[in-house]
């Protein structure tokens, strides 16, 4: 395959992958929703879960986006330094978004700041947002596609706390935001928390926490324990599906951390809605691929 051919194959593949991820929730999310839905016993919660499952089925049958808000598209890229198409990724992702917007179709969501014009094709200044991580000495690439909808982006927040506010301050910060903004963000939510020394690191880690599969745990035993405690605590608020009350509030709580400064504890919060459109694809050097987030997916 020559370079132009490989580039076109890459664009086409990512366009189809992005299209697919708007219409199908990942395996772990579907399993979790089923588990949470089965546990509900109130009429209201059951009605909401039934609507959600009907929607998931119809999206699949009619080949349409699960939620109309297909978000501002974000790609989290882990690229091997030897991946042959490394130079083409950034431009290729922008082209893929334009293509996916047409074929899916996705909702045009990129509004240029100051001009206040919707670009109409989901491409704009620095959008799709691309986050880069380098994988030394590898020749493949892993790309997460995440559709950051408005509803679940709205609770996003970050703050630098003083150390004497302690981890108590972190926990309180999270609960205050979930009981106010979170209830309108299409629960059951996936809650991402970043803890670090400065605000942008905490915020970014909170979003990366949302990419972790459900059921995974923080790498530090205390971190894992805190995830479990916050998850239990939020579920004990009984926010329920759609914020209309019910047994559970969240699909999970994920924390990611970076070493902090002695004088600061920064905390970031991102939330994912029940329609958590996070997909992961691995592409090898010869353009072979595997959709890791959706087992057996044909794209």
């Amino acid at each position: 395959m020559d370079r132009t051919q490989a580039r076109n194959t890459f664009i086409d593949l990512i366009a189809r992958f992005t299209d697919y991820s708007s219409k199908h929730l990942p395996d772990d999310v579907r399993t979790k929703l089923k588990e949470l839905g089965d546990r509900e016993d109130s009429q209201m919660a059951k009605i909401i879960y039934t609507a959600m499952f009907d929607d998931i089925k119809m999206a699949d049958a009619l080949n349409r986006p699960v939620c109309q808000d297909t978000g501002v598209i974000q790609y989290f890229v882990r690229v091997g330094t030897k991946f042959p198409l490394i130079d083409e990724i950034e431009d290729g992702l922008r082209e893929a978004v334009k293509k996916a917007t047409e074929i899916a179709p996705l909702r045009p969501n990129a509004v240029e700041v100051f001009d206040e014009k919707n670009t109409g094709n989901n491409v704009g200044t620095r959008i799709p947002w691309i986050d880069w991580e380098i994988m030394p000495n590898r020749d493949d690439v892993e790309i997460y596609c995440y559709m950051a909808g408005g509803g679940c982006s709205l609770p996003g927040t970050a703050k630098v706390l003083m150390p004497l506010e302690g981890y108590e301050g972190v926990v309180k910060f999270v609960f205050d935001q979930i009981t106010s903004y979170g209830i309108n963000a299409c629960p059951p939510l996936l809650v991402g928390i970043g803890i670090a020394g400065s605000v942008e690191v905490a915020a970014k880690l909170s979003k990366k926490a949302l990419l972790r599969p459900l059921g995974s745990h923080n790498s530090n035993p205390r971190g894992a324990e805190l995830e479990a405690r916050i998850e239990q605590g939020l579920n004990d608020l009984h926010i329920g599906p759609g914020g209309l009350s019910g047994r559970s509030s969240v699909m999970g709580v994920h924390i990611e951390q970076a070493a902090r400064h002695p004088a600061t504890i920064a905390v970031g919060l991102s939330t994912g809605c029940w329609a958590h459109r996070r997909a992961l694809i691995r592409i090898d050097a010869s353009m072979g691929y595997e959709v890791i987030s959706h087992r057996g997916a044909k794209i």
């Binding site: 609507a51 929607d55 014009k117 926990v171 939020l234 009350s245």
Partner: protein
């Protein structure tokens, strides 16, 4: 219990008997109106291109597709509700100016909208968030579109719907607010939960 189906035009009497938590459906006209439409009417003082008296608005920004063989006509692909709280500062005045009777959205709205609903006789109801394909299947026709210069999500899409729902009444005409009531319960429980967690998180050496 029989299915409650509201039909546009909606009268005060149609909604005065409804209470928060009731589940209803809608037949008739539903018009999308979200941030920019509220801003144009109330901040920029531009007249709305659609008469909303007795009608229902939908806080929603749909995915629409042009129908190839019918120029200027659209079909709806996905249309779920958006976060209603964003319109809280404007909604009371929006109700007063337009005479609308039903606001469909997602999540709760605040005290100003609750007051607007009580004074001018209107209700707010939620469609299950994210269920955009389900909602699209309740749309019979996209009759027209106005203010498309605002972009697809912000334009006013005039829809004819059939048994559009389930819609859960979240603010009624009597001053009740379901989400506000729920939020108070969550807040009260929050203090208990926080106290327990905070007993375990002193990681300082």
């Amino acid at each position: 219990m029989s299915k409650i189906v509201l039909q546009t035009p909606i009268s005060d009497a149609d909604i005065e008997s409804l209470s928060v938590g009731d589940i209803i459906y809608l037949d008739g006209h539903l018009v999308t109106a979200r941030d920019d439409v509220h801003h144009r009417l109330l901040k920029q003082e531009r007249a709305l291109p659609v008469d909303l008296a007795g009608k229902a608005i939908f806080h929603a920004g749909p995915i629409m597709k042009k129908i190839q063989e019918k120029p200027g006509r659209y079909e709806v692909v996905s249309i779920g509700p958006t976060t209603s709280m964003r319109m809280e500062a404007y909604e009371k005045e929006f109700i007063r100016r337009t005479g609308l009777k039903l606001i469909v959205g997602k999540g709760g709205m605040g005290p100003q909208t609750t007051e607007g609903c009580r004074i001018y006789k209107a209700i707010h109801a939620v469609f299950p968030g994210g269920c955009a394909v389900l909602a699209a299947t309740c749309v019979e026709d996209v009759e027209s579109v106005e203010w498309l210069d605002l972009g697809m999500p912000e334009a006013m899409w005039i829809l004819r719907v059939k048994e559009f729902g389930p819609l859960i009444v979240s603010i009624d005409t009597k001053g009740n607010n379901l989400f506000e009531k729920n939020r108070r319960a969550f807040e009260a429980q929050k203090d208990v939960v926080l106290e327990e967690i905070c007993r375990h998180v002193d990681y300082f050496g």
